[in-house]
Symmetry: C2
Subunit: 443 residues, 2 copies
Amino acid sequence: MAEEKLKKEETLVMRLKLIGQSCKLFYSEDPVKITRARGQYLFDENGKRYLDCISNVHHVGHCHPAITKAASAQMDLLNTNTRFLHDNIVLYANRLAATLPEKLGVFYFVNSGSEANDLALRLAQQYTQHEDVIVLDHAYHGHLKSLIDISPYKFRKLAGQKEWVHVAPLPDTYRGMYREDHPAPGKAYADTVKDLIEEVHKKDRKISAFFAESLPSVGGQIVLPEGYFSKVAEYVHSAGGVFVADEVQTGFGRTGSCFWGFQLQGEGFCPDIVTMGKPMGNGHPLACVATTVGIAEAFTANQVEYFNTFGGNPVSCAVGLAVLDVIEEEDLRGNATRVGTRLMDLLRKLQAKHEIIGDVRGIGLFVGLELVTDREERTPAPKTAAWVVKRLKEDDRICVSTDGPWENVLKFKPPMCFSVENAELVVRCIDCILTGVWCQLIR
Amino acid sequence: MAEEKLKKEETLVMRLKLIGQSCKLFYSEDPVKITRARGQYLFDENGKRYLDCISNVHHVGHCHPAITKAASAQMDLLNTNTRFLHDNIVLYANRLAATLPEKLGVFYFVNSGSEANDLALRLAQQYTQHEDVIVLDHAYHGHLKSLIDISPYKFRKLAGQKEWVHVAPLPDTYRGMYREDHPAPGKAYADTVKDLIEEVHKKDRKISAFFAESLPSVGGQIVLPEGYFSKVAEYVHSAGGVFVADEVQTGFGRTGSCFWGFQLQGEGFCPDIVTMGKPMGNGHPLACVATTVGIAEAFTANQVEYFNTFGGNPVSCAVGLAVLDVIEEEDLRGNATRVGTRLMDLLRKLQAKHEIIGDVRGIGLFVGLELVTDREERTPAPKTAAWVVKRLKEDDRICVSTDGPWENVLKFKPPMCFSVENAELVVRCIDCILTGVWCQLIR
């Protein structure tokens, strides 16, 4: 297959004409054309190599041969829908079940994290027979109409807040209302949810679900304080609602120590619904909802079929199984811990050197570097963050992007095969950029 | 790859335990396990062959080698997201544009027909700044929350009808309010939409969109009367709304004579938004929204990004391109016309013989056979329809299913490589079943 079929200028002209402009390009002033990728590396049309620090979808590495092989073999054999019996879907569900607490034993396969969160909302509302949803501030749960409604990151720019949606403070101990000096920020933030529930009840409304990413991503690569989820779950359950953990960005071992992000909150905590997506198929459209027997039975009780045309097909499940195999065989969780720890150490050393680095946070290969113009005031430094992203691309061919409500957090969510050398390189490059020195590093 | 990894009984036990029961199985009393497929044939775990009359998703035939080859090659090379420039998405959009009227020149790629219809709804509401939607009775537009709201087939069993949704009569000239003896049923049915718009306006509400499948499928394999869409579009445009043609079931040449189902309504008609899905990727999760520059620009105006993680990735687009190639190279539209015509002829001869066949309708490889206990009263015969489906499976290993509000319409939407011999076989088998004779046909 020819890697490039059109000249870059022509691709860009056709793109601007044929594809909706709401679908934005990275580096919009000078977009990159990528024609090939392998592992943690992207290659442009001239064969120039970029180090990829952000493609969390390509979890086990771009174009991993084991995934391609599994997909091709199954595509050649069969790709029906779930109305026929097939082994792959049950074997895959069984493998996923083994990674989750026992009570999360029923699965629905879909095609995207958005489809998963939309279904989670349906399950929660059907089970509880309540309507209202509590979400965290700055959250993003997907591009569908129902999910824009529960995503403050989106609805504030669009249709606004619906009366059935309630926004709890983001438990951000660097920038939020309770910070690192608070004796028990987990409990304190959970109590804001308790207060919100009381307000909702005063309006004669009822909570169906509390939705949260296990580590809020768009919110700024946040690691939640200890004990937060357990306490929130207690309050939400008391109100008759369910707890939905959105693992679309954080699942499948990204944090290294745990397979699921919510497990960082301790063994005592278990959500009622878990949604998964991005890394699940290493780029293949595959996502899932895991839930309890009770919630699944309530959903079945109305006798209405749930049919998802492509969801759970034999090819998608073969891909999903292969991804799980590679995570284990290549010890990618171990790698995430080792490389993530080294990356965090180096970034903390950088913080000691550069006043502009306000915070370094994360776990495994989920890391954020927050830039501020004033450490005391914690004033966001989005311009410097954008400048670092641009310099990393242009000088060093390293892809990093920003996140957080003020777009001042450099985020690292690379493919899980990211190496210690990769981490060292990116930190050296950031050091040079922040020092204001252009240094040609040998790579 | 081993075709079967578990004994059928074990697969079934695991399925019942691990997969939400709302995901129903075909032939639920005695489900079929399929382990392999090719062209229009499915093979069970014992190698027994089934003729597939219903898998419209596997449009160019199950496991077509050209599709597997294209997917594998691209998977091995690159599978990023649309934030990087890539040739496949623009080449694919360009190929799709060539099949559509010129004004439908902007594309958004997504992962399922449901995602496409949800986005169509967002586009329509953003462009018109109106909220209300008119849909056809018995319509089904997808499994997402927003689409259940506009699918009478679903919302009647679930949350009920929202105040912003309005249901127009299904233009079914066999069973509807205006029938085959009406001089101008297209205009007459369109006028029901006009009346509905007037009612909506009286409530001080405004129409954002009219949504319809170009050939209503769940509604009972309906071919719409001449002139209906043009007249409806006139009324909807006058009310400031847009016309959305849902081609998820009917696009990509299924009708043979036209590439898109809406083109059956004549060259004078052009929708404002077209959604596509099922057959688009031959089983790969791929779907799309096509619209006008004006609607796309209105969607962009609010500066909010539309990002679909997997939508329009290089692998999905490579698969989509390969599907278009096979449709052309194997003249599958010509085949749909030839085989569909023969199938309709044979079914009409069967109708002359069997009182229970009330109607034969369709075009190309989109065909319905409506069973009635009384031709005069047109009383639906769902039990006989279910019995025919069961006998076809058990005696003849032919997969057919039912549709329509009364589940009395046998539907044929086979892979487009379905042959004249396949059509002759299935008609002979139905003849035997309806005659009450069990005939062992040599296949």
